[in-house]
Amino acid sequence: MTVTHNEHAESGHHEAPEVVDGRQRLGIWLFIGGDMISLGALLFTYLYLRGVNSGGHWMSIVGMPSKGITSAGPDTFTPTTLVEQPMASGLNWLIVLVVVVSAALMWLGEKRLRASVNGRGAFRGYAAAATVTAVVGIVLQVMQVRNVPQYWIQSNDSALFAYTSYGSVVLAFGISAIIHFVLLVLLGAGLYVRAGRNVLSYEKWYQARLVRFFWVWIAVSTIVTAIVVTLLNTVH
């Protein structure tokens, strides 16, 4: 390989912020790409289990309802075939609404930050609002997870908590969403602090966009999940 020396090479090895930003943008999109595959794997799980409806147990289970039974298990076990109804979709769509609003707030904040030298204060307001909204999303999502019906089933003479396969995947979507929302809260709070310390500013706004990309992706993933879970839930 023939090599000549770069006459205009930098001496201090410092790179322009736009160059660093371009690299980080590719990085965040690759991470989002990996996250998309994970979501795809969960959607595949959902549609596959619904499609095969193994043993007719997509939304039914042989056991006892868990309501009113302590963690020690029921005293007498009288299992019957219980048929589950799809979960009410209202809370699910409320979570979607909250996360979409949260992403929109982040996006508006970024716009204000980039618009003028005085936008930093407004950005902090939007970032705080987006973060608080994401916290609300976590609370609602925890409620949703707790709503997934649990049952007692008998296994080798002992009683176990169990979910139907439908309930299992809804639970997995919920836990995954909670983990992602926690990340949003941390990122949002971090941006809020950084804008306060002037390391995020009119000149140095790039990280706000990186975070916004992730935020919007989470909103999109929440919408996709909600569509699948609320529209395709009865036995195929």
Binding site: T45, A72, A162, V199
Partner: protein, 621 residues
């Protein structure tokens, strides 16, 4: 840009009170153990108090404690904490993290210099191979004769599971870990990886995963094989929880590493380093990294769902509650087949690199070889169900999956032709790295062709679950990938150490490993053809002779690997000095001094022609 030199006058300030500069592997171990114990104690007190068995939950929480503690103790979260509080790292901090003037200590720390990370990966790979190899010796010793009980059956099963997974992890990182880190940034003309801190994070996250995997043996093991087949994995003891947590930790490590490699290649190339001028190893590493980004999320998900079934009461893989083992198999092999090429591609790329240098010829049909690798990666995501031909899942899809699997032999054949074409009429310099290339050619033919047999459903119906399959994939993993990894080590060793790997010991090692591999696995083909099932700890006396031969062959491989280890250690400080470019290579990593300075280049080079101009008249210089 016009840059300033303000940073050069900054003297090293304390990095946030000083404690951050005292973190190393020792503090990581201590913090990991302390956090694991605390996590165990909290989980145990809260969950086990009413006498119900929450052993899976306790084990998973303990594993999380270990990983978090270890990462805190090594300093992986330091810069995240600084980002969060808006106190970004100064240039002095970055130089400290890069290991400037830190001497040997930097190898024991969260060091961001890609060359240090590369060396750390060499050591980690050797540890993984060594541990997996010891388990292989245990397995083969048990199989020395029918009814031999070197270990009991439960331990035997655990040895199989952990041997399999240790070796898979070892081979995923064997080439991509050391060399995509050490040489790729220099090859593309960069001062470091795109994200140096993520680079160190990926290394230390991998390190955190290893004790979990080995620890699974200590807490009762697991008996479901490396494929973690449900429902066996649901019924396995708590060893499975550590096993699965090790894999989840590992997927974080590889995802971070893959993003880093791709970003480095796409955004850090120096002036004139167009995509057509990238050394073939860079292409191979990047394609493998992209494929890994696709594959490993499935690994993460399948292991998470498995743990969830065990501790949350979910029923993804439990047939009596609406789940199905087929789901587990699909998710696993959606990862599992692409992963074979994540493992194979970097090894092939390194061997192609070696071949051009030692045949003193340009790579034969550079573009075709890239197309071959891209074709391999593309097709590899469409073949996964060939692992499930005999399971009864979707028989109607058997035909299509058979076709895609057989089609994948086309890009494989293309890459093989590129290798042979590069050798053809070359002026071959038979130094140590070339031995492994020829070994690869011989072994990969066997591993590849038997793969085509197995892709054929009628044949697979006979062979599935026999030692024939085990022999096939060991020809690929040991005979081909391990040969590529060792070839790469012999080739780039002088760049790392400034010394040749001892040629004589290296050749002894080659012949032992080469002969041992063929003895072990040819005999294993025979065992399989005669119908010996895989994963059995004992067998009928009709398989006696071939198993004895396989066991002897395995000992020979081990002997060869020990000779290699001896050569690596003894040559490190005492080998024959090599100078910066002992092979007369033309890729950039050989044109910088040895040892490679921090930040690699005094002045970034400008590239004016492709890297394989061997034997061509210089048209410009």
């Amino acid at each position: 840009m016009t840059s300033t030199i303000e940073h050069s006058t900054v003297s090293a300030p304390a990095l946030g009170g000083g404690i951050y500069r005292r973190l190393n592997f020792g503090t990581a171990l201590i913090a990991g153990v302390v956090f694991a114990v605390i996590a165990w104690w909290i989980a145990h007190s809260l969950l086990d108090s009413d006498g119900r068995g929450f052993s899976d939950q306790v084990m998973v929480i303990t594993a999380v404690g270990w990983v978090v503690g270890f990462e805190l103790g090594i300093g992986a979260f330091t810069s995240i904490g600084k980002w969060f509080t808006g106190r970004d790292q100064t240039h002095a901090d970055e130089m400290y993290l890069a290991g400037k003037d830190a001497g040997q200590a930097r190898y024991w720390r969260f060091t961001t210099d890609h060359k240090v990370v590369g060396v750390q990966y060499i050591v980690v790979t050797m540890i993984l191979l060594g541990a997996g190899g010891l388990l292989a010796m245990g397995i083969r010793t048990n199989l020395l004769s029918p009814g031999n009980h070197f270990v009991n059956q439960q331990i035997y099963n655990s040895f199989l599971s952990v041997h399999g997974m240790l070796m898979i992890l070892a081979l995923i990182v064997a080439v991509a870990g050391p060399w995509a880190n050490f040489v790729v940034p220099i090859m593309v003309g960069a001062r470091d990886m795109a994200f140096p801190r993520l680079n160190a994070l990926s290394l230390w996250t991998l390190v955190a995963a290893i004790p979990l995997l080995l620890g699974s043996l200590a807490v009762g093991g697991n008996d479901m094989g490396w494929v973690t087949q449900a429902p066996i994995s649901n019924q396995s003891g708590v060893g499975f929880d550590l096993f699965a947590m090790a894999i989840i930790t590992f997927t974080v490590s590889t995802t971070v590493a893959g993003v880093n490699t791709i970003c480095t290649v796409l955004t850090m190339r120096t002036k004139g380093m167009t995509l057509e001028r990238l050394p073939i190893f860079v292409w191979a590493s990047s394609i493998a990294a992209a494929l890994g980004l696709y594959a490993f999320p499935f690994f993460l998900v399948v292991m998470s769902l498995n743990i969830s079934d065990r501790m949350n009461g979910t029923s993804f893989f439990i047939a009596s509650e609406g789940g199905t083992g087929w789901l587990q198999e699909n998710l696993f092999w959606l990862m599992g087949h692409p992963e074979v090429y994540v493992i194979l591609l970097p090894a092939v790329g390194a061997l192609l690199e070696i071949t051009t240098v030692f045949a003193r010829k340009p790579l034969f049909s550079y573009r075709t070889s890239i197309a071959g690798m891209a074709g391999l990666a593309g097709l590899s995501v469409l073949v996964w169900a060939h692992h499930m031909f005999t399971t009864g899942w979707a028989p109607a899809l058997g035909g299509p999956f058979m076709v895609t699997t057989e089609m994948i032999s086309i890009p494989t054949g293309i890459i093989f032709l590129v290798l042979l074409g590069t050798l053809w009429r070359g002026n071959i310099w038979m130094r140590l790295p070339m031995y492994w290339v020829f070994g690869f050619i011989s072994n990969f033919i066997v591993g590849g062709i038997t793969g085509i047999y197995l892709s054929d459903i009628p044949v697979d119906n006979q062979m599935h679950g026999t030692m024939f399959v085990v022999a096939h994939f060991h020809y690929v993993f040991v005979g081909s990938v391990l040969f590529g990894a060792i070839g790469a080590l012999c080739f780039w060793y002088p760049k790392v150490t400034g010394r040749f790997l001892d040629e004589r010991m290296g050749k002894i090692s080659f012949w032992l490993v080469f002969i041992g591999t063929n003895v072990t696995f040819l005999a294993m083909f025979v065992s399989g053809l005669r119908g010996m099932p895989r994963r059995y700890s004992s067998y009928s006396s009709i398989f006696e002779h071939t198993n004895a031969v396989s066991t002897i062959g395995a000992y020979v491989i081990m002997a060869g690997m020990l000779v290699l280890l001896g050569a690596v250690i003894s040559s490190w400080n005492k080998g024959e000095p090599s100078g910066p470019n002992p092979w007369g290579s033309k890729t950039l990593e050989w044109l910088v001094p040895t040892p490679v300075p921090l930040e690699n280049f005094e002045v970034l080079p400008v590239i004016t022609e492709d890297p394989y101009t061997y034997g061509e008249a210089r048209t410009n210089s």
